[in-house]
């Protein structure tokens, strides 16, 4: 038992150490700021600029959150406050299934539905020529993928708020929406932020679905209809050739290290928000 516990507890440290040692080669030769903010990605001649990938990742993630967050919040409030029990009984399996669908299937669905939709309708509507494989497509698919994740946490959070709080607000003459706006959301705010933060971290690391619809072009995107490239997609796309070019594997491990760092950082901060929510 103790041995198993030790193995499991040390896992994150091993992950960090392993990836750090691997990317040490790259960190030794290049300046950290240079790696993160240089725009040139030419592994063949030893130029490793991660800036396009980082920017691509941030665009896709933020856009996905922008689509997903309001939908999740409104739906969580609706399901927990305004409906009868049976709606929740339908929503729970629906969330389970959405959460269970593998990312490859989401990616495939994105190619079948979202990409044509953007290239045929949304692009022309805004007067843009686009292939459909774009930042926006990735954000759409990603937004749907993180819905079950965020919604689950939000529903749990809204359920823990005592019903007396809502009732006293209603008794004082507030309308239901006023109650939601001024009482429930204010009370649940740390929890809501935490839910969005977990979703953000999850979206940042998502690989296959994004890889399949984002277009994979190493370029700084200028609009949401441009194709882009994300950090996880970079790692997944280049595993085959990374041993043939010097320092390439080290660069990819560095990308993984950045992902690990971002994910740990976000989860760490959001845990403090959850703790604050529970304290109230």
């Amino acid at each position: 038992m103790i041995v198993s516990l030790m193995i499991v507890s040390l896992l994150p440290f091993f992950l960090f150490l392993g990836l750090y040692l691997k990317s040490f080669l790259l960190l030794h030769d290049y300046h950290l700021g240079n790696l993160l903010f240089s725009k040139e990605w030419k592994p063949g001649i030893g130029k490793f600029g991660f800036y396009p990938f980082i920017v691509g990742s941030i665009w896709v993630t933020l856009l996905a959150m922008l689509i997903s967050a309001p939908i999740c919040l409104l739906s969580a409030i609706h399901v927990t406050q305004f409906t009868k029990k049976h709606v929740l009984r339908i929503m729970h399996p629906a969330i389970d299934i959405l959460a269970g669908i593998p990312s490859v299937v989401y990616g495939l669905w994105g190619i079948l539905v979202i990409v044509p939709f953007i290239s045929r309708y949304l692009g022309p509507f805004f007067g843009v020529q686009t292939m459909g494989y774009s930042i926006l497509a990735a954000a759409f698919v990603l937004a749907i993928m993180i819905i079950p994740f965020i919604l689950n946490i939000l529903i749990e959070i809204f359920r823990t708020i005592p019903i007396a709080l809502k009732e006293s607000s209603l008794a004082l003459g507030a309308t239901e929406w006023q109650t939601v706006k001024h009482v429930l959301v204010k009370k649940a705010l740390p929890g809501i932020i935490a839910a969005f933060g977990f979703g953000l971290a999850r979206a940042f690391g998502e690989t296959m679905a994004v890889l399949m619809v984002v277009g994979n072009v190493v370029k700084l995107p200028h609009s949401v209809f441009d194709p882009g490239y994300t950090l996880p997609a970079l790692i997944a796309n280049n595993y085959g050739e990374m041993l043939s070019i010097p320092k390439y594997d080290s660069a990819l491990m560095f990308a993984a290290l950045v992902l690990l760092g971002v994910s740990l950082f976000f989860n760490l901060i959001m845990h403090f928000f959850i703790i604050r929510f529970n304290k109230y």
């Binding site: 516990l5 739906s75 490859v104 495939l108 669905w109 971290a201 996880p232 993984a256 994910s263």
Partner: protein, 285 residues
């Protein structure tokens, strides 16, 4: 009440209802698309044959290699994760029950690990493989996926085990059983429904994840024969067939996606059904 407020109330109530049905509609569209596209090209031969020569250019064959490979990989990883995970979850809830802070810290650590993207595990697994001089193989795949699902397994079992009432533990002690007996005989039985749910949840994760096996399990057209050979997996098979320029092969990708989705749905249904069934063996206080 000012009229503006009434309109605001109406708008937001409408938006809430819209969001809820939007989510349900998206789910329906996804399921419909996968079934509609997949059913067309799903044949018996696809499920029972391995890819023959020129399969990826539209020739004969099937995806049996990927189906079996995925099952082996997911079952292996789930078993391994269970063997490591169950003792940890029990230890946290029986032995460390007096040390609330330690348990809270372990939970926190596990939650952190849960949030790490699977591609990071893939990259880590790959660097370990090179370090130990291993080839891409079923074994490496199983080990990587195990790392990836262990936090999921432990945390889901832990959530159930912590609901086991203290009275039950005290009753067991008073009858003279020691801590291990209490953990493995009493706690596991009381939480059996939750443990099964945890196993099936982890299994679903293990079979659906592509990013962690991309580097470590490799890909092959043959059936897996030993732990040290590379193995094909369903998600990767979908991915590769989809990137083929031949429309017939892309159709097969849709069919493969249908197979994978059906497996996931069945597992999800099973976990609900079994969870309910084993509920009856529970002692109620």
């Amino acid at each position: 009440m000012k009229p503006g407020r009434k309109i605001e109330e109406k708008i937001f109530r409408g938006l809430m209802i819209f969001s809820t049905y939007f989510i349900l509609a998206i789910l329906a569209i996804i399921i419909y698309t996968i079934f509609h596209k997949g059913m067309k090209s799903l044949t018996w031969a696809m499920l029972t044959q391995i890819p023959k020569g020129g399969y990826y250019y539209g020739k004969e064959g099937g995806i049996l290699n990927a189906i079996l490979g995925s099952l082996y990989l997911a079952i292996g990883a789930t078993c391994l994760a269970f063997l490591i995970g169950l003792p940890v979850a029990l230890y946290m809830n029986v032995f460390l029950v007096r040390h609330k802070k330690v348990v809270a810290f372990i939970r926190f650590l596990l939650d952190l690990v849960w949030g790490i993207p699977s591609i990071v595990y893939g990259a880590f697994g790959f660097s370990m493989m090179i370090f130990f001089g291993l080839q891409t193989s079923l074994l490496a795949g199983i080990l990587t996926v195990t790392m990836f699902i262990i936090p999921i397994m432990i945390r889901s079992m832990d959530e159930i085990l912590r609901t086991v009432p203290t009275g039950l533990m005290e009753a067991s002690y008073s009858l003279g059983s020691n801590k291990s007996e209490t953990a493995f005989r009493i706690f596991t039985r009381q939480a059996s429904s939750g443990i099964i749910t945890a196993i099936l949840l982890s299994f679903g994760r293990a079979i659906g994840d592509a990013a962690s096996v991309l580097f470590t399990a490799g890909y092959t057209d043959n059936l897996p024969n030993s732990l040290l050979e590379p193995v094909a997996t369903l998600p990767l098979s979908i991915f590769f067939q989809l990137s083929s320029p031949v429309p017939a092969v892309q159709d097969r990708a849709y069919a493969s996606a249908l197979v994978l989705t059906v497996i996931i749905l069945v597992v999800s249904l099973f976990s609900r059904g079994l969870g309910k069934r084993y509920h009856n063996t529970k002692i109620n206080f």
